[in-house]
Assembly symmetry: C2
Homo-oligomer: 249 residues x 2
C-alpha cells in the first residue's frame, strides 16, 4: 500500500531546511517514483489526487505535475477524466526490457569505443575495476558489500553510457531502468559467483575497448546484459514468483 510508505515519511513541505534544490513538484515526483519502483503500490491501483496531496501535505497542483511526469515516463497509465493507475510489470515484460537494454547498452558501448574515453572517464572506469577487484578478492561478501558493489557497477555502466555522448540512447536506457528489477543497479538478486563473473565481464569489455575493437565490445556488452537476465530469471523462478516480479528488498 502506497499510503503507509508515504505517510511514514516526513511531509514534502519544508523537507529541506533551506528549501534546497528544487520545487515541491520535483520532490513529490521523486517520492512517488521511488514508491512505485519499490513495488510499494498495489499494481493497478488508482492514485487519488486529493488523498495523495493530503498525505504529502501539499496542494493538488504539484501532485498532478508529478503524476503527469510519471505517466510520461511510463510508470503510470492515464485516462482522461479517470485519473492515473499504477502499471504492472509481468515477468515477460521484464525479460523483454533486458533484451532491449542489452541491445541499447551494446550500442552505447560501441559508440563509446569509437569516440574513446577522456582522462576523467578512464579514471572512473579503472577505479571501478580496482574497487571491484578489492571487494571480490576476499572470496566472499560481508554485510554491505553488495550495496557497495552496486555503486561500483553503476559507475562502470554510467561512465560508458556517458562516453557514448548520445542523449537519446541515455534516455531510452533510463526508461528500461524504470521497469522494476531491470535496472543495472539492481544486483541484489545475485550470488557471489555471479557478481564475480560479471565483474570479469567488465574487465573484458574495457580491454576490448582499449584494444580498439568497438564491434566486439558491443557484442560483449550485449552478452553481459543477457547473462544478468538469465541469473535474474533463474532467481525469480526459484523464489516461485509466478509471473510477477519479486520484491528485491
Amino acid at each position: 500500500m502506497i499510503e503507509k510508505i508515504l505517510a511514514a515519511d516526513l511531509p514534502v513541505r519544508d523537507e529541506q531546511p533551506a528549501g534546497r534544490d528544487g520545487t515541491r513538484s520535483l520532490s513529490v515526483t521523486d517520492r512517488l517514483r521511488e514508491a512505485i519502483l519499490r513495488g510499494e503500490t498495489s499494481p493497478g491501483a488508482r492514485l487519488n489526487e486529493v488523498r495523495l496531496s493530503q498525505m504529502l501535505d501539499v496542494s493538488r497542483t504539484p501532485v498532478r505535475a508529478a503524476l503527469q511526469v510519471l505517466a510520461g515516463e511510463g510508470l503510470l497509465d492515464y485516462q482522461p477524466n479517470r485519473g492515473y493507475v499504477v502499471r504492472q510489470f509481468p515477468l515477460s515484460e521484464i525479460v523483454d526490457a533486458y533484451d532491449i537494454r542489452g541491445q541499447l547498452e551494446g550500442l552505447a558501448t560501441r559508440f563509446a569505443a569509437e569516440r574513446g574515453f577522456n582522462a576523467e572517464e578512464r579514471e572512473i572506469i579503472e577505479q571501478s575495476l580496482r574497487d571491484g577487484d578489492a571487494l571480490l578478492d576476499k572470496g566472499h561478501f560481508v554485510d554491505g558489500d553488495l550495496s557497495r558493489y552496486r555503486a561500483i557497477n553503476g559507475n562502470f555502466h554510467e561512465t560508458i553510457l556517458g562516453a557514448a555522448k548520445n542523449r537519446m540512447l541515455s534516455e531510452m536506457i533510463r526508461i528500461c531502468h524504470h521497469v522494476p528489477a531491470s535496472s543495472s543497479r539492481n544486483i541484489i538478486a545475485f550470488e557471489f559467483r555471479d557478481v564475480r563473473r560479471r565483474h570479469d565481464d567488465h574487465h573484458r569489455i574495457y580491454e576490448t575497448i582499449l584494444a580498439g575493437e568497438p564491434w566486439r565490445a558491443e557484442l560483449q556488452m550485449r552478452e553481459h546484459v543477457a547473462g544478468v537476465k538469465s541469473s535474474l530469471v533463474q532467481q525469480l523462478r526459484q523464489r516461485g514468483a509466478a509471473g510477477e516480479a519479486a520484491d528485491d528488498e
Copy 2:
C-alpha cells in the same frame, strides 16, 4: 516562430463542437507537439507560459500540463524555475536515432515473427503490400501519392510493432519518432526509386516472417531502417543542411 503557427489556427477552446474526445490539456499537448515536430519553433527558444495560454485562449493550467508531458517525451528541456526550452536535434543525433530505431524495430520484428500474426494483423499487412504495389506500378508518383504511401508505410510498421506485443518496445520506438526526420512516417525526403526499394524490403520481410525465420527477419528490418537512414543523410547533405535538420515540408 511558434507564435505564427499557433495564432493562425483556431483557439483550442470550443475547438470541437460537442467538446469531443478529451480535455483542453490534451488538445494543447497535441498542438504544441505538432508545432515542435514540424520544426516551427526556433530551436532553443523559451516557451513562455502566459504567452502560449493567451495564444491558445486557455489558462496556464492546461499549458503547463502539456509542457510537462512534452518534456517527459523528450521534446522539451525543463529547468526548475526557469521554464521549458525547445530541444534541438543536430544531424548526428538524427543519425543515432536511426541506428537505435533500427535495432528496436529489428527486435520488434523478431518478436512478432516468433509470436506470429493473427488474422486481422495479417490482413492489414497484406493490404499495405497490395496498396503499395498498386501505387508503385505506375512507375512514377502523382500529387498526393507520397502522403498516401506514408500512410501505407505507417500501417506496415505499426502492425508489426503491435504484433510484437511489447509495450516498452513500442514506447521506445515512439520516442525515436519524436526526433524530427526520424519518424517512419517521414518519407518526404525520398525519391520514387527509394520508395520502391523500401517497399520491396517490406515484401521480403513479410515473406521471411511467414517462412518462420525470425532471426533473418530481424536483420532484414534493421538493414531496412539503415537504408532509410542512408537516403535521408544523402538528401540532407544535398540540401546543404550544415548540421541541422532540414524542414521537410
